[in-house]
Amino acid sequence: MANSATTITDTAMRERVTPGEGIWGFSRAQLAGVLVLIAFLAVAPFVLYPVFVMKLLCFALFACAFNLLIGYVGLLSFGHAAYFGMGAYITGYAAKAWGVTPVAAIIMGGLVAALLGVIGGWIAIRRQGIYFAMITLALAQMVYFFCVQAPFTGGEDGIQAIPRGSFLGIADLSSDMAMYWFTAAIFLAGFLLIHRIIHSPFGQVLKAIRENEPRATSLGYRTDDYKLMAFVLSAALAGVAGATKSLVFGIATLTDVHWSMSGEVVLMTLVGGLGTVFGPVIGAAVIVTMQNYLAEMGAWVTVIQGVIFVACVLAFRRGIVGEIANWLKVKL
């Protein structure tokens, strides 16, 4: 409950409400960050392998969606793989079995993930803190077992050879470059949407709930409604991230709904900085890059991820972006 000493995002990067400052709710430092991000998106496919950058962007969006809950409502979901994976499965199935266009398939994936989020959130928000984490984990495990058995997921094989299709009949997405711009647009739209949500009056109420839920209740806010809405938005965006990933790689498998995926998104956000705008993006970049380079090391990747978890919790709780923001005395 109202744990005044320290909450999980209790670090120097806490935002203060300063209306009238900055542009579109971005502070100057954040605006600079957004410009750097857009410049990176424009240059990256020419410098780096586009498929790698697309993977990075999908996970970055996933982590941003997760951060919406932990960073701004203070709810640690340990089961976000359910929404990510379900988005991937639905989109994959729609694109492959029904021949749905990519935009429609991704929307379907996001909507089903949102629907699942309504159910999961409705159950999970009855408890707080550690219980919330355990409940979301257990519900996600239920979704995992459902996916193991359901006929449309293809069981152990997953859904393979998902066609990328063509974007509104204009651009054929089977080329990596076309798919890259499509993915980058989805990521940027999701990133800006989350920023917009946080800086809306709705987002201010979420932060109030994070700071002191009984007080927000006493001010007349139905906090459960707000928490559920945030959960559904987060689930939907996680679903969109999974949906995009399934089109990029053409596969949706049990890995996407497994609990270790839920752990990975927690790790990405923790490494980047909980409750920062850019932290999840940087964290996703670090973890995806690490997995790419260490792929041949097998189970040691798990060990290294565990070590990073431990190191972050014990000594590095602000995360990369949080540390930089603290050092520069700005909010990022």
Binding site: I123, R126, A138, Q141, V303
Partner: protein, 294 residues
Amino acid sequence: MDEIFGIPAPLLFGQLLLGLINGAFYAMLSLGLAVIFGLLNIINFTHGAQFMMGAFAAWMLLEYLGIGYWWALLLAPIIVGITGVILERLMISRLYKLDHLYGLLLTFGLALIIEGIFRNQFGSSGMPYRIPPELAGAWDLGFMFLPVYRGWGVIAALVLCLATWLLIEKTRLGAYLRAATENAALVQAFGVNVPRMVTLTYGAGVALAAIGGVLAAPIYSVNPQMGTNLIIVVFAVVVIGGMGSILGSIITGFGLGIIEGLTKVFWPEASATVIFVIMAIVLLARPAGLFGRA
């Protein structure tokens, strides 16, 4: 007596027994989680990995040192308990002043490390552990064959659970423990060394998980993933029972094991998810859990 509700009796009783065994492990693990949570205020995600370490300790004792089951039942929990004490002193104790979620994240990371190391060392296929000769064979109960080891597993787990309950509810040490759960600062003011008690409690909770691992070794194959899959179910069990009551954890654990076993008979497809469904229903009806305090 051949069929009950149109189900062959041996199948029904066989699954019921399997349910009881699983329930015994649910009970032991959720009991350990509840004791640790009561005093340390962290959810020990490493619990599943420590259960697995118990099974591996028994396997290694036999394989490398030729030490058999009965000694392993004593030594494995001590060894794993000591590693738990070290973890608590070095890492977990640094987090008590922080948000409880950090404890969950730290122990999750530790679980990844432990599981990864064991997977590197032993692969993920799993190793068999022989049932000790004293407990091999089966009893003919007339309506079914009861493998002796499985009967022993259930009884041993039940005895351990009840002993833990007695220790906490009926002894002076348990009274200190309960008092420290309520108000650690006050108990410390009375001259009890609370930090040492916290460390030993963590060690004891971990040792309980390790005994579970040793008991499980001859039943399941000893493999690095055996704990993690179990611990997620145990989390659901803990949410259903609520962590307020020791006896409640025991009853919930065994009860859910039996329900899961029966589901395997009547609706096999739902057996993997039935506990999670029950968790959802309990949360909707009684958010604090069956035995929990709000």
